[in-house]
Symmetry: C2
Subunit: 458 residues, 2 copies
Amino acid sequence: MSKLIPVAVVILSILIGLFITYTYRQQNELPEFDLQRWWGSGLKPEKEDSSIRTFKIDFNNTMIEDLKQRLKSRRRFTKSLEGMQSRYGMNADYLQKVLAYWTDKYDFKKRAELLNRFPHYKTKIQGLDLHYIRVKPKVKEGIQVLPILILHGWPSSSKEFDKIIPMLSTPRHGYNFVFEVIAADLPGFGFSEGSNKPGLNPVQMAIIMRNLMLRLGFERFYIQAGDWGSQCATHLATMFPDNVLGFHTNMPLSSIPVISTVKLLIGSLFPSLIDSGRPERVYPLRKFVSYIMRESGYFHIQATKPDTIGFALSDSPAGLAAYMMEKMAICSNRDQLDTPHGGLENLDIDDVLDTVTITWMNECIVTSMRIYAEGTSSNEINAVHNKPTEVPTAAIKFLYEVMYQPDWILRDKFHNLVRSTIVDYGGHFAALHTPKELADDVFDAVTEFIKFHNTRKK
Amino acid sequence: MSKLIPVAVVILSILIGLFITYTYRQQNELPEFDLQRWWGSGLKPEKEDSSIRTFKIDFNNTMIEDLKQRLKSRRRFTKSLEGMQSRYGMNADYLQKVLAYWTDKYDFKKRAELLNRFPHYKTKIQGLDLHYIRVKPKVKEGIQVLPILILHGWPSSSKEFDKIIPMLSTPRHGYNFVFEVIAADLPGFGFSEGSNKPGLNPVQMAIIMRNLMLRLGFERFYIQAGDWGSQCATHLATMFPDNVLGFHTNMPLSSIPVISTVKLLIGSLFPSLIDSGRPERVYPLRKFVSYIMRESGYFHIQATKPDTIGFALSDSPAGLAAYMMEKMAICSNRDQLDTPHGGLENLDIDDVLDTVTITWMNECIVTSMRIYAEGTSSNEINAVHNKPTEVPTAAIKFLYEVMYQPDWILRDKFHNLVRSTIVDYGGHFAALHTPKELADDVFDAVTEFIKFHNTRKK
């Protein structure tokens, strides 16, 4: 009797497939976008400020004292259920330990200093004051300097890249190029201003990021990105293929509506025939769906009521830390729910607390969470998703990345998927977790991108 | 082409229907339950404390001062997006007004006094110290006194019933019976202790509530309930039909796995043929599903990571208020998202703040949210869901109740649905929103229950 289920899946898939083919086939045109849409408060002024200012990260004493005071006067936690470790979320005893470390041992001044070893800047794009790091490499003659934009996701900021920036901007043996790195905070994240206007979705952020690169004098550049940053970068490559020399992603996703889903369903009938990579990362689908259901509550609430949950997270540093850290833990190793740390110890605790501290001090948890609400339902996003891109693309698939798609699905979106690496380690926060492996893959991917362009020229 | 979708729905429904019929047909037996399972800390003692103690609600000065201090020193809110009113959750400006009222105008002492006009008690059941209100009516000769247990849901407590208790316990013209009311706080809610052991789901709560009623000397009683309370009551009626004389619910749900869902899907093809009530409350399904998706983020996160979100909610009274009030608002009128209050003004603000204050002072947000995690996946729950009950049942369907099921689905579970009332006003918190209408319906329902039993006797 249970054999009826695959039959039903196939019938349904074919019907949906036909329906989609008819409905979407002629929708390859993008809508017209206002490339200077105003996201600042009030109306767009006559003359905009296009200055670039240097910036230093300052964990100041007032902020630190206030934070420690709030951590010390927090209310007691409800105990975790007996034996449940991290199954119902962050473990209370473990959280207590991390908070003690944050209060007593985490060296705010030293951590800020460490972040300030890179040159930081701010500039206003479309009304929002954006923060970015820009590192120019020192090179000998014969080494080409290539601009690369690197983009983070949630909960994160350009801080995520402090290990990888030196790796990308240092010339390495065997490569005749090196990178000038621009690591930007997305609007509403880290030190970048958020908007008070609705509609600032990843498509609009792609436009903003392109304008940032143009302001810095880069007409053509590479991109490396993960998570929501990878969504923005995918849109950037789709909308402005002439600006993107190549796109490297550690969260490759084809979101061509429904076609990819249909393929995913059909794939469940013959997983290993269809994916020579790691079909076990997504099949059996039942297991995958149950993991997604278990871990996507934060996504669901942030996509629908980001402001509601934001009031508590903005007001309680202990609560904010728990909320952010639980997700950082799971996304680094989803199989460690039966430990007190739930996966968190795959990351350096100082890196984790840098991220929490930056979010706390900038009061940007609400503006950053809103990307889920803005990013999940809009005709313009669907339109951009639905158009494939010709920009050469490379993917690296780490073991515990949140989502996994086989290459035969990725190629729906990325017509020139020139490289696809699968590794059996690492997780979602690759730049924090396995920075060397990520940097290595970027160098090799860009080698492929250069070959790709050279072949095309001939 | 879009006509293929209903065809696919029918095919899929029939296949699933057949599958279910074969899989579940012989599963009408309930598992064996330990009716004295120990939920207290540590191991079950040799001798249990079965005393009943009087109890007074005390909003004491230490709690009040600490709460006000935290509200005053809260961090500033992120502004709501321009023009979004309550669409991304609680509106920041409106929340600020409610918090100012809570701090400066809400009369803690007077509110506690009001709640204390009823006799409150505590007693230990299966290791948990439970709170309940018990009101005996004053009656003249010839008026029968009937015991009724009333149960709340989330986010709530027995406080929800302070308007309806006098209505139920006062004899009324035309009825030869009146109620002795027992309004209990579910374990982990209000003033009732939560458990530190996993597994305390609504089925187990049903066992606990039955034991409470037996301790109070009631072998046979009526029940009125909504929300999770109605789930507990449904289980109680299913597992212990001899104890339940009749069940009145304002959130009637047949959760017989999948059969009800299949019927719901089939119903979408011929809504008004199948439901002579208010098919528009659930069809078109697309609209209903989109509403459910929009409003169930809290459910998703509470069902998977209640502890994570609980740290922030336990630590920030502003955040707790926003989180609870947004849901109380939506559930009272889901069509008011484009107002600053988002539906909240359908309720009395003092009632709402009583509920928030009780949750804050008892630090029970985490233990109460865990009912979603415990209540959504367990073989024992599915087994009880899957068995119909013969207990006479009456349903009232208020306009903005969270879920709506037509009677032809309800009868799968409730074989003796003796009364079903549909009204075009009111919402989920019926006892706060439309207490008189709810009480009236309970009197009429119990009249029907009595008739039902009299007919059976003959």
